[in-house]
């Protein structure tokens, strides 16, 4: 087989995220491409065994992996609730729902491994079953291969001589499942053992019991060999040579900021406030004092951005990280950075909205907020990362653009990218593009004011500590010549246009839009940000073209030229058509069609293909 999709599914406390991550990492180390989708409830610990507490982790591995997969080929269901959620998908709450391939999280030829020890009457009651046979009640088709495994009993059996108490033993059930899945895909045990040793290196006492359970799980698979066949993944990895790791989007974002600061010779300052799903960037940077990173957990979202603006005023590479509700709170201060013309990187890890919305789900609904959500004519650069790994590249690019153009840059990622992992080819700092922070020429010493601009229209950056460049920066309108407060009507227009022109000229410094797939097709899929994997796979199936945007404002200079070559332009987004509206406003002559999903989940390739085939 070329690609395979596995979903680990269990109670929030069953360690499904850990198991899924281990399996993905093992796959990556063996040379497969990977893409992962953690899917967990907003509650930290919902009542055990209930439908609300089911936590899932899906991974696709193989060659040419663009997404974590629409539906699973293999399911590991650790309890009755997980079995129900996987089988019914989004319909799990409907009292009379049956397996329906349209909604189920696995397809009708999938392998479903179930812990039969977790299907007691009590378990079934907690998961709201009405009968004592979950398989018939859910009407799982016969084509699905159900593999009943007494996981709990076997785990206890494996650990019976360990002297561990019952509760501790049960915590290792996920490792039995992991071992079993390793056998299913014929993954070598020695690498898996090494991975476990690394994972538990801070808790060495856990290495031996977990390894024992995992190996027993693997061996149990060999006993099963009569009933199911091992799956062999083929196809050489398509990535170029290099050193790789698997990385989650939030970590990649943090690394991008760190790399940019070092390259630019600037001190990295982060002002942030905890918010799902962006908090991991704060965690990552708070731990990186060794990299000379100053990460401040501020008293609120506004203080997060305002401390960063203070650091930018004082000459640092300043960032703030947040999600949609936090971006709303920061909007006035982002306007200040626009007005004061200071470099600032704002990372918005989008989640389902509005208001508190769906904090742990993914959505692309902050685009118009990023573009327009501020008072006054308030242009800023807007970028979007399109894979967990390239969160690194676009965080780096956001810093470069901010420092070189004295402007806030809003980087949009989302839950899907932030928590998902992908293969990342580790770059060397020397190979990354140079960053030249805007500086002030020596000859302006004693004559400096904050309105002075270079030939590109970018104002010069002088900051406290520099003798002879003392000045007052403001959020009030400033005189275009002297840099002091001005309420002059003509001056205001000059300044509004100067700020717009400064953002527009960034288009001279970014790459042109490139079409992927079959460029000579009549149909062009258009996407932006995190949907690239799904749209790329869809374009491959449709044999059509794809234009995926990472640069939203300004758009690449050849955007009109590219789009106008296609008869059918379908803008696909996880919102109700924000990018489509943005493109229509700029290219009213183009026939822009839109395809939208708003269920807090990534696209499914099959749905896009179905729509576009119409």
């Amino acid at each position: 087989m070329k690609n395979i999709v596995v979903r680990f599914c269990g109670d929030s406390g069953d360690g499904m995220q850990l198991t899924g991550n281990l399996f993905a990492q093992l796959g990556a180390e063996l040379g497969h491409e990977i893409s992962t989708l953690p899917d967990f409830p907003a509650e930290i610990r919902a009542p055990q065994g209930t439908l609300g507490g089911v936590s899932g982790f899906q991974v696709e591995l193989g060659s040419e992996v663009y997404t974590p997969g629409d539906k699973a080929d293999v399911i590991v269901a650790m309890n009755a609730a997980a079995l129900k959620v996987c089988t019914l998908g989004s319909h799990f709450n409907h009292p009379q729902a049956h397996y329906d391939e349209q909604f189920s999280l696995y397809h009708r030829h999938a392998i479903v491994i179930v812990d039969t020890d977790s299907l007691t009457d009590k378990d079934l009651e907690k998961a709201l079953y009405h009968t004592d046979n979950p398989f018939t009640e859910l009407d799982i088709p016969e084509s699905v291969q159900i593999v009943p495994v007494p996981l709990t009993t076997l785990t206890k059996e494996a650990l019976k001589e360990s002297g561990m108490d019952n509760k501790s033993m049960l915590k290792s059930r996920n490792m039995f499942a992991f071992g079993l899945i390793c056998w299913l895909f014929d993954e070598p045990m020695d690498k898996a053992i090494h991975l476990l040793e690394d994972k538990f290196k801070k808790k060495p006492a856990l290495v031996a019991p977990n390894t024992k359970v995992m190996v027993d799980g693997y061996n149990y698979g060999q006993n099963l060999a009569l009933s199911i066949h091992q799956i062999h993944l083929d196809g050489a990895p398509s990535e170029a040579h290099g050193t790789y790791t698997s990385i989650a989007g939030n970590r990649a974002t943090a690394f991008g900021l760190i790399a940019a600061a070092e390259k630019a010779g600037k001190h990295l300052f982060l002002g942030s406030y905890p918010i799902t799903p962006a908090t991991d960037i704060l965690h990552e940077l708070a731990a990186r004092k060794d990299m000379n990173v100053m990460a401040i957990q501020a008293e609120d979202e506004i203080a997060g951005v305002c401390t960063a603006i203070g650091a930018a005023f004082a000459g640092d590479l300043a960032c703030t990280t947040t999600s949609g509700p936090g971006l709303s709170l920061k909007s006035e201060a982002i306007g200040l950075a626009v007005m004061a013309e200071l470099p600032l990187v704002v990372v918005d890890v989008q989640r389902g909205g509005p208001s508190t919305g769906l904090p742990t789900k993914t959505e692309q609904t902050d685009l118009l907020q990023a573009l327009y959500g501020r008072n006054g004519e308030c242009p800023a650069v807007v970028l979007a990362a399109s894979s967990s790994a390239n969160c690194f590249d676009f965080a780096y690019e956001a810093c470069k653009i901010a420092l070189e153009n004295m402007t806030p840059v809003i980087l949009l990622t989302d839950t899907y990218l932030a928590n998902g992992t992908a293969l990342w080819r580790i770059p060397k700092l020397a190979d990354l593009p140079a960053i030249h922070p805007q500086s002030v020429p020596e000859e302006l010493k004693g004559k400096y004011n904050p309105a002075l601009r270079d030939e590109r229209g970018v104002r010069y950056w002088a900051f406290p500590g520099m003798e002879g460049y003392e000045h007052r920066n403001i959020g009030l309108e400033r005189d275009a010549e002297r840099g002091t407060i001005s309420t002059n009507p003509e001056n205001h227009e000059v300044m509004v246009r100067a700020r717009q022109a400064k953002i527009a000229q960034v288009a001279d410094r970014i790459p042109e839009l490139k079409v992927q797939g079959n460029a000579s097709s009549d149909t062009l899929l258009v996407g932006w940000g995190s949907t690239e994997g799904h749209l790329h796979a869809s374009a491959n199936e449709l044999n059509c073209a794809l234009a995926q945007f990472n640069y939203i404002c300004p758009l690449p200079k050849n955007t009109r030229e590219v789009l106008s070559q296609y008869k059918r332009i379908i803008v696909c987004e996880l919102n109700t058509g924000q990018f489509a509206a943005y493109l229509r406003a700029q290219f009213p002559e183009l026939p822009i069609e839109q395809y939208n999903e708003i269920q807090g989940q990534p696209f499914a390739v099959e749905r896009i293909v179905e729509y576009a085939s119409k």
Partner: protein
């Protein structure tokens, strides 16, 4: 250095007669006395009459947005502890819209020098009541009088764990300069409540102590290590009396030669006495219709509290330095080399 070195070329636009003029001059004098060069000073403000101050000082300045001066100043000072950072704010900017940043800069003890211009009114929006307006205060936004109790800034600062609190009056230039210099010398978040008159919308708000004839009787200038003596003939002193039943301590006025007269200890870590001193006379500004409780205690001016404690900016930078000293990976390439990785 001279006060004129700290004057910018900007025309000062406070209303004629506004108390902010006096604080502006006091700041220039204090900065000259302190002697830090202009390029090593950043003055950050929010929005309001007081927040125009950076424009009139020949230092680095940043006139930001309403209420956020404290957060911006925290960013400047924490990222660059070598700078001297001042924050200019008013009773609306600091105690209302910026209240959260205000209590947190105090709680963290960021080494900032914060001047809060308290005129008990919103001036720049033309006359609405503020969080320090007394209950019942009639203004454009409270035509029938306010229905809310005011903050006593001293109490707010001490409640947030403040390490420095001083109070001064626009018409008392020497005390103002002393307080500003002391604020700079104190390492930590130094709050200076500047009582200023708004001639347009709240004229005479501090008249009880600002009137020349009454000032000596109605106020006391506290100095660390000196006896708490006041009155135009220096005939009155302050002492503490503890209620024998409730054990509640209160300040009382006694003759200057009474042995109970207290010596001011601004460095005392326990804030009990500082709170009593800070609250003296504040009941006069609590409720316009109820002055029955008003005591004969004077309003305390000068440095009421100044204690040493670790500053946030220092602690944050020290932690980074400590971690870096022991760190194996110190740059991006070394960091990525520590990741679990494989070569293809």
């Amino acid at each position: 250095m001279q006060a004129s070195d700290f004057k910018s070329d900007q025309y000062v636009r406070f209303c004629p007669g506004c108390g902010d003029h006096a604080i502006c001059m006091a700041l220039q004098k204090a900065m000259a006395q302190i002697g830090i060069p202009t390029h090593q000073i950043a003055v950050v403000s929010g929005i309001g009459c007081s927040s125009r101050m950076p424009h009139y000082l020949n230092t680095y300045g940043f006139n930001t947005i309403h209420g956020r001066g404290g957060a911006v100043a925290t960013g400047v000072k924490t990222s660059h502890p070598e700078l001297t950072v001042w924050q200019m704010s008013g009773d609306g900017d600091c105690f209302a819209i910026g209240g959260n940043h205000f209590i947190h800069e105090i709680r963290r003890n960021v080494d900032l020098n914060v001047c809060v211009f308290n005129n008990r009114i919103y001036g720049l929006t033309k006359g609405q009541y503020s969080p320090t307006s007394p209950k019942g205060f009639v203004s454009k936004s409270s035509p029938f009088g306010t229905a809310e109790r005011p903050f006593v800034p001293a109490q707010l600062v001490l409640g947030a764990g403040g390490t420095f609190f001083a109070r001064t009056l626009d018409v008392d230039m020497p005390t103002t300069v002393d307080c500003l210099v002391a604020a700079k010398e104190h390492k930590g978040c130094s709050i200076v409540e500047c009582l200023v008159n708004c001639v347009i919308f709240n004229n005479g708000t501090h008249a009880w102590i600002a009137d020349r004839e009454q000032r000596a009787e109605h106020s006391i200038i506290l100095k660390h290590g000196e006896k708490m003596i006041f009155g135009k003939d220096n005939d009155k002193g302050l002492a503490v009396e503890i209620d024998p039943v409730t054990f509640v301590p209160k300040m009382i006025v006694v003759p200057a030669d009474d042995p109970r007269v207290l010596v001011h200890d601004a460095h005392q870590p326990d804030p009990t006495l500082h709170r009593l001193l800070g609250l003296m006379g504040q009941e006069r500004f609590t409720d316009v219709s109820d002055q029955t409780e008003a005591s004969d205690l004077p309003v305390a001016l000068g440095v009421i509290r100044s204690v040493e404690a670790e500053t946030y900016d220092h602690a944050v930078n020290q932690q980074i330095a400590d971690v870096r000293e022991k760190a194996k990976a110190k740059n991006f390439d070394e960091l990525t080399a520590t990741l679990e990785s494989w070569t293809m």
